[in-house]
Symmetry: none
DNA sequence: AATGAATGAGCCTTCATTCAT
DNA sequence: CATGAATGAAGGCTCATTCAT
């Protein structure tokens, strides 16, 4: 599945990229504040620094903006994560580092994550799969890391266990952003990371299929 | 914090209750399908079995409907859960039962849960706290159960650990509904419960504060 | 082919009729002045004596107004004609009377006729056939009148001749409205009628298929 | 009345002519399909083979395009007719030939005729007279032909009769195009020509002012 | 002379809410 | 209490036209 194309009337691809970045930046700010539905296209245009007419030279419908925003956030998250996955050695220690890094990225991008988490469901049947696929790819990155530990003999897990653990990690990262109204009152980021990681790794170690 | 009052023009309280139940039922069906924003008040009235004029005899704004819906879903979830918490003995086994029961309730009410978590964010600054408070109450029920195990000496956990575990359980239950597009393809409900519970309990046991 | 239904949100049929008549009256005035495309829905609403919101309680799209207008004009023209056709005896004299009457109706309704012929082409593929069918019905009324003369032995014409003559009459009537910018400078209505009728009847008489 | 000037920014007259021809060709195609109002200037530019910016180097407003199109169609029709009028001898036979030729031209150019007939009315008060004048010139060509027959003693008609007959011929030619949805189902072009010509000539002959 | 990105007035349509009956 | 017709602010989107390059 390739990236879904959002049609632009403007030909100059470099310009399209530039304008879309302005657009995404403006839109994210607004979506954070008021959500997708309560944000008007005019507001998006203004926040992006151009007129409503110009906005529509770069998209076809308001939903395109949402798609572009979600797509861009996923890309940003994944790009940031990538670097921590590469040097991964298939040891418990490297798994720990990966989680640590992931949680910190989620903390940094918590506004973006929140937007995506709350607004993605407003995407049409048409666009949603492209975004969900990206989500699965990220979960897959955690699976691979865990699986490598299994291959190395550091862990003893069934495939189903590997998958559920990857999901749990992924969701706990998001949790820090979308339940921040309570979690960030109870814990510092470091505390949260330590508590969750300890709990998880003890759980994993105790769950060997024996 | 008392329940937020939604003003009705109609005096007969029995009638108000009856009409609101019709309303909530109709609205949930619609919100499931198209979300809060895409549902019109006319549609809600029709689905509730009365006219738009009548609808507005029992609420003040469209958002009131959303509040009523969220509030009612929370009540339903909590009521269902309550029974499993009452006989709780403060043993690991009863914790296991509580989790098992909770996940099954989430499975049964997954549509409602979905609606609530996707749409609650559309509540105004005014109404949101009432809903969040209900959520915290539910998390609190898990905390109590765990805490009783600690008091009984079955577990050895700090207060912060107790709290994070309660949140994890709570979120993993939601996840089953929220991420059903992927989880329910990978696991049956029973598998999911078993995997998550094992992982969690192993984690808990391994995390004694020592 | 039944009349094409234009959906209204309002239930009270009597009211729908009343409002639509207001609407048609207002719209015709505007269409006369500026044509369909240059007239806005707000202008139509205002000219009809109600708000834009109310307008849309009685139609679905702007094009519905056009259809309603065209449909109503056809009905008016046909209703007016009907009376002159009924007592028709199948004589040349009664044919003369029918033509005379038709031209006079076209003169009276020339604004409406103009609107209809200039704007009908803006109807969608969907609505056009309903209007064209009405036109054919009117042409058919002339055909019947001529055919009766043939049956009576007053005229000797092939079916193809009957049809072309009916069309010619029909179009010459429209012409009086359509080309009024020139014809009405050259002739009075009575002159026009006499000239055209004489020419036509001589042509018919001379065209006997022998 | 001279030809209405449409201002161009470009000086090179040869180029102006060339570009305008491209433009007219493109526009006619589009107007045929969707009418003047539903066609955008961008579409016209694209269909003409140049950019929107270039389009506006050769016209001032969208309406200019319509004027140019109408003007050009009239010129084309008139140019084609011209040749059949020149050798006209003032006999009934040559009148017959002129009509025959005219109807055939109308058949060939029926798309263009339709466009003109349906869209000319969208011209502004300013431009319309120039187009109507051309129409009158064409009617005048028929008048001349008939008048010559009168002068030759072949026909005995008043001036008013001459004029109405010229109009009838003119309109019957257009009729073949603008009522093609019905006429071209009933008749071949040759049948149509024969029926109309016979009817008309019999009418003319029978209408001698005696 | 040609290009095409930018503009913003203005269009059609929706829908939450009111209020007379 | 119930009804549903009326309202108009507001929203998404288009497109004729301009102007810097």
């Amino acid at each position: 599945m390739k990236k879904r194309e959002v049609q632009a009337s403007v030909k100059d691809e470099r310009l399209v990229l530039k304008r879309r970045n302005q657009m995404i930046k403006g839109a994210v700010t607004l979506f954070k504040e008021k959500g997708f539905h309560r944000t008007t296209t005019r507001e998006i245009a203004r926040a992006s620094g151009f007129s409503i007419g110009t906005l529509y030279e770069y998209i076809r419908t308001k939903e395109d903006v949402l798609y572009l925003v979600c797509d861009s956030i996923y890309d940003e998250v994944r790009d940031q994560l990538q670097q921590s996955f590469d040097p991964n050695q298939g040891t418990l220690e490297s798994l720990r580092l990966v989680i640590d890094y992931y949680f910190k990225v989620m903390d940094e991008l918590q506004d973006e994550v929140l937007v995506m988490y709350q607004e993605a469901k407003s995407l049409s049947k048409d666009a949603l799969p492209y975004v969900l696929k990206k989500e699965l790819e990220m979960v897959g990155m955690f699976e691979d890391t865990i699986r490598r530990c299994v291959e190395n003999g550091e862990l003893d897990l069934t495939e189903k266990q590997v998958k559920i653990i990857a999901h749990d990690i992924f969701v706990q990262g998001q949790m820090w952003a979308f339940r921040r109204w309570v979690l960030q009152k109870l814990y510092t980021l470091d505390e949260y990371i330590e508590l969750q990681t300890d709990l998880l790794l003890e759980g994993i170690k105790g769950s060997g299929s024996k």
